[in-house]
Amino acid sequence: MEAQSLRWFVATETRRSATLIILWANAMSFVLAQAVYQRTFLSAVDIVVLGAICFLAGMISLDLGRALLSYLGAMSIALVLLFILAMLPFATGSYAPEASTVMFQLWLSIIFTSVFPFNFIMLLVVSVLGSGFGEKYL
């Protein structure tokens, strides 16, 4: 019964793509979170883990075009989620407005420089490679 309800998420290509994007974004977002909330920037291990996630998700997507679009969607969701989590402590109103402004700019800069352009392009390439691998071997 449970397996049947789980099947619903991958029953059609559209549902599978939507599920894939959510899982992909979720995985990338929290790998990025543990990196930037502890060390500000990504370590080599973080990049390898992100690469593995992108390769795997690319394989699942099977199709190059779908992999590209899914990657862009997942990365956008992941970065927005990461930024929202970074600014969440300031939503309580316990801090001065200047503090929120400074941290807004700082986090925008940290997240942008962590991902763009090198890591973003590299992960895109890895996703495409994953989709090619999936197309050939799955």
């Binding site: 979720n26 977002s29 929290f30 543990q34 500000t40 989590l85 402590p89 941290m103």
Partner: protein
């Protein structure tokens, strides 16, 4: 029900996504306490002892720095400041300049109290001025303006410091946090309010 290779990989991605939420969630929960740990970081003047020889004042100030929150990742990089000796009755203030640098670097773990001991030799012309206050029957108090320069996970992007003012006559004194500043390297300085 049999799973094909694609479904198996999807299950693997689910596992990775759940694991990353668990691992990343712990870091995120710790991060959520970061700003309150700066706001609540306590500097206490635990004891102040001093004596005068008529020309100079020798003092020993003991401070503790306590992180009362559960945040893990705060480190003390530098304990620096200036101090004045002020006549309580006359309200005359004698500035002495920088405090001696203290060996105080180290982690400020949850609930941990880092002890900083500062020996003070208040001599020279200012020492004479401070002694004059005493000779005129005035009571003196020490006023410390202290900056705690902190090392945090934001080190690569910015610097964080907390400013305090501590006053004491002898024995324990009182400290008040004045501000918390986040200095961004691109701007050369930017305010971040902790208070």
């Amino acid at each position: 029900m049999s799973l094909n290779k694609r479904d198996l990989l999807t299950v693997l991605l689910v596992t990775i996504a759940v694991s990353s939420v668990v691992i990343g969630g712990a870091s995120t929960a710790n991060y959520f306490q970061f700003y309150s740990s700066l706001q609540q970081l306590q500097l206490n003047l635990v004891s102040l002892q001093w004596e005068t020889n008529g020309t100079a004042i020798d003092a020993l100030a003991n401070f503790t720095i306590v992180n009362p929150t559960g945040y893990v990742g705060l480190n003390l990089k530098l304990f620096q400041g200036i101090f004045d000796i002020r006549g309580i009755n006359s309200n005359v203030s004698v500035p002495f300049g920088a405090l001696p640098l203290a060996e105080a670097q180290g982690p400020l773990g949850p609930g941990f109290a880092r002890i900083v001991t500062i020996p003070i030799d208040a001599g020279g012309r200012q020492g004479l001025q401070a002694n004059e206050l005493l000779q005129n029957g005035d009571q003196i108090e020490f006023v410390f303006s202290i900056d705690l320069v902190l090392s945090t996970f934001l080190d690569k992007a910015s610097g964080v410091s907390a400013a305090y003012e501590c006053t004491g006559t002898s024995g324990p004194g009182t400290c008040e946090q004045l501000s918390v500043a986040v200095l961004t390297s691109s701007e050369g300085g930017g305010g971040g309010g902790g208070v």
